[in-house]
């Protein structure tokens, strides 16, 4: 088997800007991708751009149509339309009727992230939520260097400690972060250290902290106060 053949088959529903770029990106990486788009003219345009035959015109929520896309061998189905309800139903049908192992949904309303997760979508992704996290990190604390948001709805926050921080001289075991956050890694002089309970924070250390999304500002503040 060639390496390409081993890459998983991905189905993307919705050929808007998000769906189009996602398809293009995955194809460039050698994935087998089928893009499902309702609008025939849009589908034709995408097909022309991508130079492949992997665009199908149809409704991603029609069971009979989905059955013609080879969905039963898909490893990932992505609901990438602009409508939350359509993305939810596509993912649920993929999961329940075609046993697709992983479903990813684009979510417009950040409130729906928790709803999607409760209703069985493996990875609901809200651009608004991601941007909110970054903006809050930016506004909430000057300590925050970067944020990586995970599909699980949690994030890794990279924090630079100012020399004056009260955390300096404290042991890892004594640092309590809000809502179950914890220190994943300490970066000292550019080198990552695994945080042992007895590790003492030194001036200039950088901390990578695991935290619930949208608590970024809170984490920063708690650290600044600590």
């Amino acid at each position: 088997m060639s390496k390409e053949a081993e890459l998983p088959y991905v189905i993307i529903v919705g050929g808007g800007k998000v769906g189009y770029h996602l398809t293009r990106h995955l194809l460039e990486r050698g994935y087998e991708v089928t893009l499902i788009e309702k609008d025939a003219a849009r589908a034709e345009w995408i097909e022309h751009q991508l130079g492949t035959v992997s665009v199908m015109v149809g409704d991603g929520d029609e069971m009979a149509f989905l059955a013609t896309t080879g969905i039963e061998r898909a490893r990932v189905v992505v609901g990438a339309t602009g409508d939350d309800e359509d993305n939810l139903i596509v993912c649920q049908l993929a999961k329940v009727k075609f046993n697709v192992p992983r479903t990813v949904a684009r979510v417009s309303n950040p409130h729906n992230v928790a709803v999607f997760r409760a209703l069985g979508v493996d990875a609901p992704v809200s651009a608004t939520e991601v941007l909110m996290g970054l903006i809050e990190a930016e506004l909430g604390s000057e300590l925050v260097r970067g944020v990586a948001v995970k599909a699980s709805g949690t994030c890794l926050v990279d924090l630079a400690l100012p020399l004056v921080s009260a955390l300096v001289g404290k042991r890892v075991v004594d640092i309590v972060l809000p809502r179950g956050g914890f220190i994943v890694c300490i970066v000292r002089s550019g080198k990552p250290l695994p945080p042992e309970p007895d590790t003492v924070v030194e001036p200039g250390d950088e901390l990578v902290v695991y935290s619930q999304l949208l608590d970024v500002a809170e984490v920063g503040e708690a650290l600044a106060r600590a």
Partner: protein
Amino acid sequence: MKVIIVGCGRVGARLALQLVGEGHQVAVVDQQVSAFDRLGREFSGQMIVGNCIDEAVLRRAGIESADCFCSLTNGDNRNLMAAQIAQRFFKVPRVITRLYDPIRESVYREQGLETFCPTTLGADLVHDYFIDGINRGHAGPSIGHPEPATGHTEPGTKPPALRAS
């Protein structure tokens, strides 16, 4: 009883007026302000303009204390999502969803959602009228009490022709 209706179309509006008339507490949710025109000026229930798949909007409609929830918008997926939020998230005791697509209806019925499908209901109704000579769509004793098909009907009891109503 407290009832939330999402979708103020013909069915939603008619149901809302009927329930209010019977003394129930009703909240209707629709995206379009103009949709509430169907309820008339006298309507004493609650009217909420907003997206029915937004939990904040549903909270405004009082979903936390609702006894019944009806998904009656024009979109099957929208109805399915609203109904699942009501049932699984807010634990509304009784939830019913309208679905035009019979296939999606059977899938979600299997998943434990209470549904009805105007497509199959309508087709069955016309079928029964033509083939069995029963007009279940006509207000009369046959609604809810389907009579067995006899194949031949007594003169004078033959159901009237289908009319637009």
